[in-house]
């Protein structure tokens, strides 16, 4: 039987495998060496690979990404940790103006194989800035790849695929699923930029990524009890989107509901809705609906349950979709 890992531990194992395979892989960030990261995702790496390759940096996110770019130019493959989603913005300029654009700027001469790991999303009762979902900013930025894992098996393989990519990758880790356990296979079943159809459905398909995949699966199960056939797609890749898979489920189930934790206004759901509608206009029997957080700053923990999409809100959208 394949071994079982918690999602966080699976990323740890993936990092370990990547570091063992390629000595150019270096891991860097705030509190990642001695402490092993605030979520312990890098636990034990410093002991195994030394503090030259597992580096506690000064407390400066622009510095983390900016120096990672320099390391990549020198031939290294840096994997940066941003401690929490809400702390990536000081590095925004280095990410969108430098990391994303340098290959094109150099006419393809320079590769920046940098991975930026971001624990993402809410639902853990955290204080401000520790629960944000900011994938849309990076997905709108040409030159980056953006992926999001939802389970230990994907986490283990996707982190290694991201590190192996010669393009910069924003790697989202669903922090409230870090402790969820699952089997981890020896070999990846998909490439990094393929979505996974977790469940087929003929009445409607839910499209989710990262932390909301489990919510979508629960909603699909509930809908089945009510007699509907509801499918679930785990996006896995946010940029580029796996449009062939999305088109296929749209054509088969005629109704699509996108679920994510980010606010709906210009969230990735809007791109999926626009793209699928363009490609499958005659197949759709309802507009693609979006279930996301409200368009508010992430609220205090006390209110987050009402803020985040949950099974009820997904079912409400499925009902709305079916009533078209």
């Amino acid at each position: 039987m394949a071994p079982r890992y918690a999602l966080g531990a699976a990323i740890n194992a993936g990092l370990r495998a990547a570091m063992a395979r390629d000595e150019k892989v270096v891991v860097m960030g705030e509190d990642i060496a001695t402490l092993g990261g605030v979520f312990r995702v890098t636990d034990g790496l410093a002991a195994e690979f030394g503090t030259e390759r597992v580096v506690d940096t000064p407390l400066a996110e622009s510095g983390i990404v900016g120096t990672a770019i320099g390391l990549a130019l020198r031939g290294y493959r840096p994997v940066c940790e941003i401690q929490f989603d809400g702390f990536v913005y000081p590095a925004f300029d280095q990410i969108v103006s430098q990391l994303a654009k340098m290959r094109a700027r150099s006419q393809g001469r320079l590769s920046l194989p940098v991975v930026i790991r971001i624990p993402v999303g809410g639902g853990i009762g955290a204080v401000e800035h520790h629960s944000e979902s900011n994938e849309a900013y990076f997905a709108h930025t040409a030159g980056l790849r953006v992926v999001s894992c939802s389970n230990p098996d994907d986490a283990f393989h996707m982190i290694q695929q991201a590190i192996a990519s010669d393009d910069p990758v924003i790697f989202y880790e669903p922090k409230r699923r870090y402790w969820d356990k699952g089997e981890v296979s020896d070999e990846p079943t998909r490439s990094l930029h393929e979505a996974a159809v977790l469940r087929e459905g003929t009445d409607c398909t839910l499209v989710a990524h990262g932390p909301t995949v489990a919510t979508a699966l629960a909603a699909a199960a509930a809908a089945t009890e009510d007699g509907f056939s509801v499918g679930v797609v785990d996006l896995r890749t946010i940029s580029p989107l796996d449009l062939p898979t999305l088109r296929k489920v749209a054509a088969e189930s005629h109704r699509v509901v996108v679920v994510h934790e980010a606010s709906t206004f210009l969230g990735i759901g809007s791109e999926i809705a626009a793209a699928i509608t363009e490609d499958c206009f005659y197949e759709l029997e309802a507009p693609v609906l979006r279930v996301g957080a409200y368009n508010l700053p992430y609220p205090p923990a006390h209110m987050e349950d009402r803020f985040l999409p949950d099974v009820d809100r997904i079912l409400e959208a499925v009902d709305a979709s079916l009533s078209f």
Binding site: A126, Y294, L296, P300, M303
Partner: protein, 381 residues
């Protein structure tokens, strides 16, 4: 500063002028890299303390502030362990740096804190309820800056130093003689924003005091990883007046802050104070400091506890046992208040966030608020 019963004849001989000449003398002295002290670890006056004299009335105020602040800290951590708070950020060990500095300001001097300045907040009259609201997960901030002249904190490290700098630009435009104070940590000092703020304030000769509590750690990262030279040296690099003080010596912190503030208020440009102190507990209620620091290091700093030190000074100066037992009783009463106020904090409904995000009507807000209310009130199947 609130009135405080005199229990001793105080002889407040530390004048700004005296301290000024002393600090000036130190600048020529290579040994001046040692932090300025008035009271040593045993509660005895240092040479500077003897030279300048200390204000025992002030010492009692600061000691009282610290005892109450530490009690808040203990209660809040206990509340967190009981599930009454989501998170707590412990300040213990850092009380002297906080009360010594805030008590040197005028009440109308605006303060831009980081997240660990509970002792500062208490000195500014912020109630335990207002202070704990945020850590109970009920709100993102607790108090009204217009009342306390303390801005709400930002958890994005260092950002507040630029807000303080801009606020100071406004103070100057208003031709006011207020001073603006901002607190930040040794870790935050590595952020671009903090360095932009230091430079901007210096270039503009703005009335800001940058107060760094160097508590030796940024979560698990020691100060040596953040910087090569002590932070107070950076002041001169940007053209600020730099001060280095023993952050566990409340009287020294007060004297140095008073000196810095007077200069800043006089229009001589910003100052940077580095206070050497130590976070005796974990980074927060989620942190296990044993993963990254030794028992020996901790013991060394426990011996420099700011409260013990001032208690010794006061006892040596003849403050009665009665005073301390009264204070203990007061702290017990305060602890009860803290617990009661904490538990009485009730979160509000998400509807308030819809109301508070924009000042003016916003259609997305309005339609989503309607959805939320319908869902909340069960109007949706």
């Amino acid at each position: 500063m609130s009135a405080h019963p005199l229990t001793l004849a105080a002889d407040p001989t530390v004048s700004t002028a005296d301290l000024g000449s002393l600090l000036a003398a130190r600048q020529d002295d290579p040994a001046s890299t040692a932090p300025f002290q008035l009271v040593d670890e045993n509660g005895d006056l240092t040479a500077a303390g003897q030279d300048l004299g200390v204000d025992l009335e002030l010492a009692q105020v600061l000691h009282t502030d610290m005892v109450l602040a530490r009690r808040l800290d203990h209660e809040a951590l206990a509340l967190q362990r009981q599930g009454e708070l989501h998170l707590w950020i412990m300040a213990w060990g850092q009380e002297a740096a906080q009360v010594g500095s805030i008590r040197a300001l005028r009440g109308d001097d605006h303060v831009f804190p980081s997240y660990r300045e509970h002792a500062v907040l208490l000195c500014r009259g912020i109630s335990p309820a207002d202070l704990l609201r945020q850590w109970r997960g009920a709100t993102h901030s607790g108090w009204d800056p217009a009342e306390s002249h303390v801005h709400i904190n930002s958890l994005v490290l260092g950002t507040q130093t630029l807000h303080a700098t801009g606020y100071a630009a406004g103070v100057r435009l208003d031709r006011s003689d207020e001073v603006v104070m901002t607190y930040f940590g040794d870790g935050a000092a590595s952020q671009g924003d903090v360095n932009e703020a230091l430079n901007w304030a210096a270039a503009g000769t703005l009335p800001v005091v940058f107060f760094c509590q160097n508590n030796q750690w940024a979560i698990s990262t020691p100060t040596a990883t953040q910087m090569r030279t002590p932070l107070h040296v950076r002041a001169a690099g940007f053209g600020l007046a730099g001060y280095h003080v023993d952050g566990n010596d409340a009287l020294a912190v007060h004297a140095v802050t008073q000196h810095a503030t007077a200069r800043v208020r006089a229009g001589e440009g910003p100052a940077l104070i580095e206070a050497q102190t130590y976070r005796l507990a974990g980074h927060s209620s989620s942190d296990d400091p044993k993963r990254y620091r030794t028992d020996d290091e901790l013991a060394g700093w426990q011996a420099k506890d700011p409260i013990t030190r001032l208690e010794r000074l006061l006892r040596n100066a003849g403050v009665s046992e009665r005073h301390f037992s009264d204070l203990e009783a007061r702290a017990d009463t305060f602890a009860v208040e803290v617990r009661e106020q904490a538990k009485a904090i009730h979160g509000e409904d998400l509807a308030v966030v819809f109301e508070h995000t924009y000042a003016e009507p916003h259609p997305v807000m309005q339609s989503e608020l309607a959805q939320h209310l319908a869902r909340r009130d069960g109007a949706v199947a």
